[in-house]
């Protein structure tokens, strides 16, 4: 038996990984005992050790469906990709942005984008805090 859990892939989230210790392995004997209710923690949280909720201020990503006052689900262990909505640390502040990754002349460049027409901001020392996976918007 291997002692190491896999690094979470970020893709194809196992629906019960938030509850079970490992995304692989034997089917849990506990499965037989689950009752029928929908548990949003189970559905929205891939891994409860790495998942945090944050509250959004500002409208710069409104066209992406992220509005002032919304809550976002942020997975710190998620893998940031081109187009991911990410929480980044920039100048001592937590920001939510869309990530643009480009390779030019063999060098990878990261830029942070918004929906409000502002120019993408290239950042040399990108500090991704986590990857936003869901947005909770009150209707």
């Amino acid at each position: 038996m291997t002692a190491q859990p896999p690094e979470p892939s970020g893709a194809n989230p196992a629906t019960d990984a938030g509850q079970s210790a490992r995304a692989h392995g034997f089917p849990s004997p506990a499965r037989d005992y689950l009752d029928g209710g929908i548990d949003l923690n189970r559905e929205l949280v891939r891994d409860r050790t790495s998942t945090f909720l944050m509250r959004v201020t500002g409208q710069a990503l409104a066209a992406s469906g992220i509005h002032e006052g919304d809550e976002i689900v942020v997975d710190r262990a998620g893998t940031p990709r081109h187009g991911s909505v990410v929480v980044v640390v920039l100048e001592g502040e937590l920001l939510v942005r869309r990530l643009a990754l480009q390779t030019r002349d063999g060098v990878r460049h990261a830029a942070l984008e918004t929906d409000d027409g502002a120019a993408p901001r290239e950042v040399g020392d990108l500090q991704v805090w986590g990857v936003a996976t869901y947005c909770l918007h009150r209707l």
Partner: protein
């Protein structure tokens, strides 16, 4: 112990845990001196490396430091046990996934068992350090060895060489270059050994044993006759013979732990509630015996290594106020465990830890029946409130209240949390704010 012969032990702990928790959601605190203050903002309980460099020490009263804080750029935070407890439970759960077994040793330290060759164990140590950084943004140090005492020593080496790229936060006694450990042990005083206090250190010195290496090479039976069986075990452990059992907690002054392995697995939540009840009471009794009160209750449970993927669970809850009340502590432990354990999983060990300790003399316990509902610091019982309201209406606002709540003078126990950060992870109304 038997089933782990030939295995490796890792001691993992979070660097400057409370400060690192504060920094996670407030990046402005990076690279500047930060201290976390005790209950009531009395004195320093945790320091960032920058604060240590300023000469600030644990236990210093805040009022002595405050006048210089601004000039130093020093930031103080009130202790936020809701946050620390939640992040601690996440760390422990994550670490438990790597270990063949786990013993949570304090709010920010855990022993885990690792399998494989010494080289593989070292690699696992590096992986779990990266995983905690990635999942939780917290820096950890990992010490790996064949015994708990040596793992503590290895952790010490990792922690005290933060700029050594070969170590990089993870040190294995078994994988160290030849002679390295020996030279280090010849240099370090015996009081740096886990479990050797100042008093034993003085006595050892009078007997000619000054260094860690000299203690390791002492004759165990002689040490037992001069000191105790506990120190004899320490000597054996320094020599690589694992002999400190799980239940033998060297718990420090910062927390109270009661944890045990079961004689047979506990499978149902009803049985586990009984376990939590018993352990919670034992922990509360120890707490009371020390004259202390706790702000945080953490529960842990784990399966044996062959029992499948549901390895470990941890959960922490903050008590509404510092207390040593066994009813409040037990209720919190039972509730926390119910929320994380999985019915049907055969748990082989469990524990209750009390942290955020402070002295008991500063206040008054809530009377039984008057304590607040779990997790709520609003919503007092309505009928009671009616009665209280009628009495107040007739005899005046301070005629009656809960505990000292009705006294004309505000009790000195009302906790000061002047520099409190939000309960980022445990209260929906206090989530960290991110700007779009």
């Amino acid at each position: 112990m038997g089933d782990r012969t030939g295995e490796h032990l890792a001691l993992v702990d979070v660097n400057n845990f409370y400060v690192s928790c504060e920094r996670l959601f407030d990046p402005r605190l990076e690279n500047r001196p930060v201290v976390v203050l005790s209950n009531n903002d009395g004195c320093v309980v945790a320091r960032s490396p920058e604060a240590k460099a300023l000469g600030l020490r644990t236990g210093m009263p805040w009022f002595q430091i405050a006048p210089q804080a601004e000039a130093w750029g020093l930031v103080a935070r009130s202790s936020n046990y809701e946050l620390y407890g939640d992040l601690s439970a996440r760390v422990m759960e994550l670490l438990g996934r790597w270990g063949t077994w786990q013993q949570v040793y304090s709010i920010d330290e855990s022993f885990i068992g690792l399998t494989g060759t010494p080289r593989q164990a070292l690699e696992t140590g590096r992986q779990l350090r990266r995983a905690v950084a990635r999942h939780l943004g917290l820096p950890v140090c990992v010490g790996i060895a064949s015994t708990k005492t040596l793992a503590k020593f290895a952790n010490h080496v990792a922690k005290n060489n933060p700029h050594d790229a070969r170590i990089d936060g993870v040190f294995s006694v078994e994988q160290a270059p030849a002679g390295f450990v020996d030279r280090l042990m010849q240099r370090l005083p015996s009081t740096e050994v886990w479990g050797v206090g100042r008093k034993s250190g003085d006595k050892l010195e009078r007997l000619g044993i000054r260094t860690m290496a000299e203690l390791r090479d002492a004759e165990p039976g002689w040490i037992r006759s001069r000191f105790s069986v506990v120190l004899e075990r320490t000597v054996l452990e320094l020599g690589g013979v694992a002999c400190i059992p799980d239940a033998d907690e060297h718990a420090g002054p910062a927390q109270v732990i009661f944890s045990r392995s079961f004689s047979r697995p506990v499978v149902s939540s009803a049985d586990m509630a009984d376990v939590m009840n018993a352990y919670g009471q034992r922990a509360a009794a120890r707490l009371a015996a020390q004259g202390q009160r706790a702000r945080t209750v953490m529960v842990t449970a784990g399966t044996s290594r062959f029992s499948g993927p549901d390895g470990s669970v941890s959960k922490s809850v903050a008590l509404p106020r510092a207390t040593a009340d066994p009813i409040a502590i037990t209720r919190a432990a039972v509730g926390a465990m119910r929320s994380v354990m999985r019915e049907g999983v055969p748990y082989t060990r469990a524990g209750v830890m009390l942290a955020g300790l402070g002295p008991a003399e500063t206040g008054q316990e809530m009377l039984a029946g008057f304590e607040e509902v779990e997790g709520a610091d609003v919503v007092p019982d309505r009928h009671l409130e009616d009665v209280l309201g009628r009495v107040r209406g007739r005899f005046g606002g301070t005629a009656i209240g809960l505990g000292r709540g009705g006294l004309a003078e505000q009790g000195s126990w009302t906790m000061r949390r002047e520099f409190a950060s939000p309960q980022y992870t445990t209260r929906f109304s206090e989530l960290p704010v991110v700007r779009a």
